[in-house]
């Protein structure tokens, strides 16, 4: 078996057009679902009547069904539904909007749980301290609690984003022309499927790896207050290396102070 490298280069080139589509789906889904996720998490934490039940039901519904089923349902339900309202024009809508809908609905469920656990990691003493300096609960939430919760949430948001990127490849089912869809179409001419899929594989790897780096930098930036005068220089830039990142610790605290940190 030999790989048709010329074809691979060609596919790689045409599939480039799919990258913005994929990123678009991911970004739209993330930007809409992040604030809604926070809101839903708050509804669950503060056990707001009726709404809490709704959120619980929604999260189970989304998490309990395969994304492919969600895609198929949205893609068959929405156009017919819109057909009733706006008539034939419903079938001219760019399918990417359906992709936005499915992946946003999906991310909301994931991020609700991410934020729920993150908000619960913030000590309730932080809220009390806010109240005792005269701030309102709402002010304390925005200025003290949420920034801290976001930091605990970053690794899990990164996780959710990676799943989102990979899941977005299923958008081809809705005839969205993302990376996967373009590669499949190209391959269909000469049945060079393996070559096309390898290109897809590499593209997703690059996108996911870039996302990882971005989230690593975000995490480092946001959690600067967590480090006691200690610099950790460690992201493993080589994806296939088994070497652990080297950690160097600089500190100007005395031994007893450090022990005290550990105890706190």
């Amino acid at each position: 078996m030999s790989l048709d490298t010329n074809f691979m280069v060609k596919v790689a080139y045409t599939a480039l057009q799919g990258i913005p589509v994929t990123l678009n789906i991911v970004l739209v889904a993330l930007l809409i679902s992040l604030p809604i996720g926070v809101l839903f998490a708050l509804i669950r934490i503060y056990r707001i009547k009726v709404l809490e039940q709704f959120v619980k039901f929604y999260v189970s519904l989304v998490r309990g069904t395969p994304i492919i089923a969600q895609i198929l349902i949205v893609y068959s339900a929405f156009p017919s539904l819109l057909n009733v309202i706006i008539g034939k024009a419903a079938f001219d809508i760019n399918p990417i909007y359906y992709a936005y809908i499915v992946f946003t609905l999906n991310s909301i469920a994931t991020l609700t749980e991410v934020f729920r656990s993150a908000l619960q990691t913030v000590d309730k003493g932080q809220m009390e301290a806010g109240l005792m300096v005269g701030m309102q609960p709402r002010q304390t939430f925005w200025r003290i609690i949420l920034p801290q919760a976001l930091i605990s949430a970053v690794p899990n948001i990164a996780n959710a984003t990676l799943y989102l990127i990979k899941n977005s490849s299923l958008a081809f089912i809705m005839s969205v022309k993302d990376i996967t869809a373009i590669a499949k179409t190209e391959a269909a001419f000469n049945y060079n499927f393996l070559e096309a899929y390898l290109v897809v594989w590499v593209y997703y790897l690059i996108i996911c790896y870039s996302a990882e780096v971005i989230f690593y930098l975000l995490e480092r930036y946001f959690s600067r207050y967590r480090r006691p005068t200690k610099q950790t220089t460690g992201f493993n830039w080589l994806p296939f290396s088994l070497k652990q990142p080297k950690l160097t610790a600089k500190t100007d605290l005395t031994e007893s102070e450090r022990t005290n940190h550990a105890n706190n």
Binding site: G125, E128, L131, M132, G134, Y225, R226, N264
Partner: protein, 246 residues
């Protein structure tokens, strides 16, 4: 200045406070001592509205009302006129030492940024931490964190500052620096109510000691009276127990 009458609080059927009455005058430094579980911390938390009381009356800062009838505005008034120093510091983890102090001034009191910074630096100077103003809580030792906690309370210039076992979470060698700051505060006329296990502080710094047990105030009086000549059997036993452990 602050008068509490018949304060009651129970958790899940357990009565924690069974009718507490006492008053605080301007300039008082009151130590509340007593065995653990006697309701000392709960007392502070109910007065400062961190916990809802089940009964009792408060007159403070122009409010003269039953605890259960306090509305949102009353609660804001109380919170604006008290300071609170927590056992585990509860500094805002995402703010520097300086920002911890300016936060309440700017957000709650609407003080101008430059003015807030000036007040905060003065407060930091009083606790001897001017050089740590840009450190985050995680970069400070426990004793330093608690001193920032105290600076945060005094910067708001409240009528009375409540201290909830301010040195209990500290390593023994760090207790001294916090007590020193509190002593300076007391000497400068700050009104303080301190729940403490530091008997030296209760005896040497405060002008009144309240001994609590099982949700009641068993007795109160001058440190001299409580430590040298307690009238209640319960007080004597507690003091003997605690002093024999030192």
């Amino acid at each position: 200045m602050l008068t509490i009458e018949g304060l009651k609080k129970s958790y899940a059927g357990h009565d924690i406070l069974k009718g507490i009455s006492f008053n605080v005058n301007k300039g008082d430094v009151i130590s509340i001592i007593g065995p653990s579980g006697s309701g000392k911390t709960t007392l502070l938390r109910t007065i400062t509205t961190l916990e809802e009381a089940d009964g009792g009356h408060i007159s403070f800062a122009g409010i003269d009302n039953d605890f259960q009838k306090l509305n949102g505005k009353d609660i804001n008034t109380i919170r604006r006129n008290v300071g609170f120093v927590f056992q585990n510091y509860n500094l805002f983890n995402n703010k520097t030492a300086l920002q911890n102090i300016t936060e309440g001034l700017i957000v709650a009191r609407k003080v101008k940024k430059s003015e807030a910074k000036k007040i905060a630096l003065e407060a930091l100077e009083r606790v001897g931490l001017t050089d740590r103003q840009n450190h985050y809580p995680s970069q400070l030792s426990g004793g330093q964190q608690q001193r920032v906690g105290i600076a945060r309370a005094i910067a708001l210039n409240p009528q009375v500052i409540f201290f909830d076992e301010p040195t209990s979470a500290l390593d023994p060698e760090l207790v001294g620096e916090v007590l020193k700051v509190m002593q300076d505060l007391a000497n400068s006329g700050t009104t303080m109510v301190v729940v403490t296990h530091q008997m030296n502080f209760a005896r040497d710094v405060s002008n009144r000691v309240i001994f609590m047990a099982d949700g009641y105030i068993v007795e109160q009086g001058s440190p001299k009276k409580i430590f040298e000549n307690p009238s209640e059997e319960r007080t004597k036993k507690f003091l003997t127990d605690i002093l024999s452990n030192v």
